[in-house]
């Protein structure tokens, strides 16, 4: 176990060392072309070089993550719709040069050419040295000693069997060092990567602001679309029905004395028109804020969804208090959409919904035994859920291999207010 780990660390270390050699080349060329940008030639090569630089940096970030030190990418997002002409190239260069992370990359390349080489090759060097000691001790010392020079291993001159034995012990100590220290050496390199290739506080805040701006405009878009839909539904539905109801009542008024039979028929029409208007309003209210959610809270509202679904739905909810209204609503509509998907697209036989709250995060999960293969695509219901949750910093995780089962995980950070007091 430890052995295979050390072997893997040694290989990764070797890659890091190779990366360190590439660092030298990349540092020199990138610096060269960055300087050339000043006189206008460099900008043709700089974007390509930056791609290579970031690729090497990303590999080192991945190596760091492997050692248990996750390092986020700090780069600013690439500007959208870049022209493929000279102006586009200049804009790309501007984007690269304006990003402090690019300059930190460059500094890292310079330092890594030494640090990466030393730390990366250290595990391999230890292993080699242990091997050398063992081979010497096994007998290679004799021909070496025979030509009169002797051979040092660590602090031991290996020129006799007892010295060879001591060398063998020293070699074993080095081997043990390799076995135990390799992962720590890589971890050291990982912290070096984190120090320069991770986002600075400023970069992190900038990325947070960017995220908030995106999700806020997403939330506003959703809201505007909802309001528009409600307006249209009212306009084409209930409002129109009430107008026709008024017209019918006017006709009743005219017919009342002349033709009671006809008046009665018209009254019946008026009645069914009002029933229809009520039905439409009810549907609309459900879409805005489902009454059962207002009356019973999230857990029961989701149970009601389960009961109303033609599929057998098991609901397990463990919510020790009341969630904020907008969060409840977001989760409710997300679960509703996922249940609809399970029924319509997944052809599921049964569904499990679980909701629980721990450490400031609401976890929701919808699992079905359907055919799987669900994926996020633009304009899909899943994309809608993702956007809905994103406005609360929530995420939707899709695990839906072809052939099923599908597991949809939602995570939403939120505060919980004190436990609900029963109304009765």
């Amino acid at each position: 176990m430890r052995l295979s780990r050390a072997v893997r660390d040694t290989l990764v270390g070797a890659l890091i060392a190779a990366g360190a050699l590439a660092s030298v080349v990349l540092f020199v060329t990138t610096t060269y072309f960055t300087v050339l940008c000043l006189i206008g030639i460099g900008f043709l090569a700089l974007p390509h070089l930056t791609t290579a630089v970031r690729w090497v940096c990303d590999l080192n970030r991945r190596a760091a993550a492997r050692s248990g030190v996750p390092v986020e990418r700090p780069y600013r997002p690439e500007p959208e719709e870049i022209e493929r002409d000279i102006v586009g190239w200049v804009r790309r260069c501007k984007w690269i040069l304006a990003d402090p992370a690019s300059w930190r990359d460059l500094l890292w390349l310079l330092l890594n050419s030494v640090v990466g080489l030393l730390l990366g090759s250290a595990p391999a060097a230890l292993l080699y040295y242990a091997g050398e000691g063992l081979v010497l001790a096994a007998g290679l010392w004799r021909p070496v000693a025979a030509d009169g020079t002797g051979r040092w291993y660590a602090f031991i001159t290996v020129d006799s069997w007892p010295a060879a034995l001591a060398a063998a012990l020293a070699a074993l100590a080095v081997f043990a060092g390799w076995l135990h220290l390799s992962s720590w050496i890589l971890k050291g390199h990982a912290y070096f990567v984190l120090f320069l290739l991770g986002p600075t506080q400023g970069a992190r805040l900038a990325s947070r602001v960017r995220h908030l701006a995106e999700t806020r405009s997403g939330a506003l878009d959703i809201q505007a679309a909802e309001v528009r839909r409600i307006e249209r539904d009212l306009h084409d539905g209930a409002q129109a029905r009430l107008v026709s109801l008024g017209l019918t009542l006017g006709a009743v008024d005219r017919q009342l004395d002349r033709n009671t039979e006809e008046a009665r028929r018209l009254l019946n029409d008026a009645r069914s028109s009002s029933v229809q208007a009520l039905r439409e309003l009810r549907g609309l209210v459900r879409g805005i804020h489902p009454p059962v959610l207002a009356e019973r809270g999230l857990a029961d509202a989701v149970r009601a969804l389960g009961i109303a679904s033609p599929l057998p739905v098991t609901v397990v909810a463990d919510l020790p208090g009341k969630l904020p209204d907008p969060v409840e609503s977001a989760i409710y509509f997300s679960v509703s959409e996922l249940l609809t998907n399970a029924l319509k697209h997944a052809d599921a036989g049964q569904v499990e919904v679980s909701l629980h709250y721990a450490d400031g995060v609401l976890h929701g999960q919808v699992t079905d035994d359907g055919r799987g293969g669900a994926a996020m695509s633009a304009g899909s219901g899943l994309e809608g859920i993702r956007r809905r949750l994103a406005s609360f910093d929530g995420v939707l995780e899709i695990d839906s291999p072809r052939g099923g089962p599908t597991v949809m995980k939602m995570e939403l950070p939120c505060a919980l207010s004190s436990p609900k007091t029963s109304s009765s």
Binding site: V275, P291, P310
Partner: protein
């Protein structure tokens, strides 16, 4: 027939009182919140309570809770619950004690006065009056269960109508078949669901619903 009414919207409360009185029902108390409902029922011991689900002060399911509480104190107290929306979950809570005298209808049902009064009378007599959408949902969610799956489509329709509270005659009319044919369907249903025959129509409907609810 003596009725206690709980409805918080003034216009609707007056409308329902007028409607009930037009059909010789005496509204002995009309209240606008859950607490008063409990007191009115204890005081007047009505033949039926007509209750809006959502009442002050919480505007959640105050009316439903108060009605269920009153029913626990007086088992079998006939209750007709009205709501702007119907939820199977609430229907199940109402039906949970397995005794009769339960109605659960959309407020729209007051638009058709004869049908509404019919429902009130049926519930007061210990029968049922369930909203068709609730019945239909109960049916779909149980349609894969063993004994229900044995029913033919026609028999399922008949069962739904029974759950809504239709009499044999009404079922025959709705399906445009003879009353004898309707009765035959019904006895088939009872046989398939293994319910012992009984003379009391409402009790049989209740047994069917209690079964669906299990």
């Amino acid at each position: 027939m003596r009725v206690v009414l709980a409805e918080d919207l003034f216009l609707l409360r007056q409308g329902i009182i007028q409607l009930l009185e037009a059909y010789d029902c005496e509204v002995v108390a009309a209240v606008d919140n859950g607490a008063d409902l409990g007191r009115a029922i204890a005081e007047h011991r009505p033949d039926v309570a007509v209750v809006d689900v959502r009442l002050p002060p919480t505007f959640t399911t105050e009316g439903l809770q108060a009605a269920l509480l009153a029913r626990r104190e007086r088992p079998g107290l006939p209750i007709l619950v009205l709501s702007q929306h119907v939820e199977q979950m609430y229907a199940r809570e109402l039906l949970a004690d397995g005794t009769g005298g339960i109605g659960y209808l959309l407020k729209d049902s007051v638009l058709d006065d004869r049908q509404f009064i019919d429902a009130v009378r049926r519930v007061a007599a210990g029968g049922m009056a369930m909203d068709p959408t609730v019945v239909a949902q109960l049916m779909t969610s149980h349609s894969r269960d063993e004994p229900l799956a044995a029913l033919t489509a026609r028999e399922r329709t008949v069962l739904e109508l029974m759950a809504e509270g239709c009499s044999n005659t009404a079922i025959a009319q709705r399906l445009t078949v003879t009353e004898g044919a309707a009765a035959k369907h019904i006895s088939n249903i009872f046989a398939k669901l293994m319910l012992p025959p009984s003379s009391d129509n409402n009790r049989r409907v209740l047994a069917v619903l209690a079964y669906l609810n299990a």
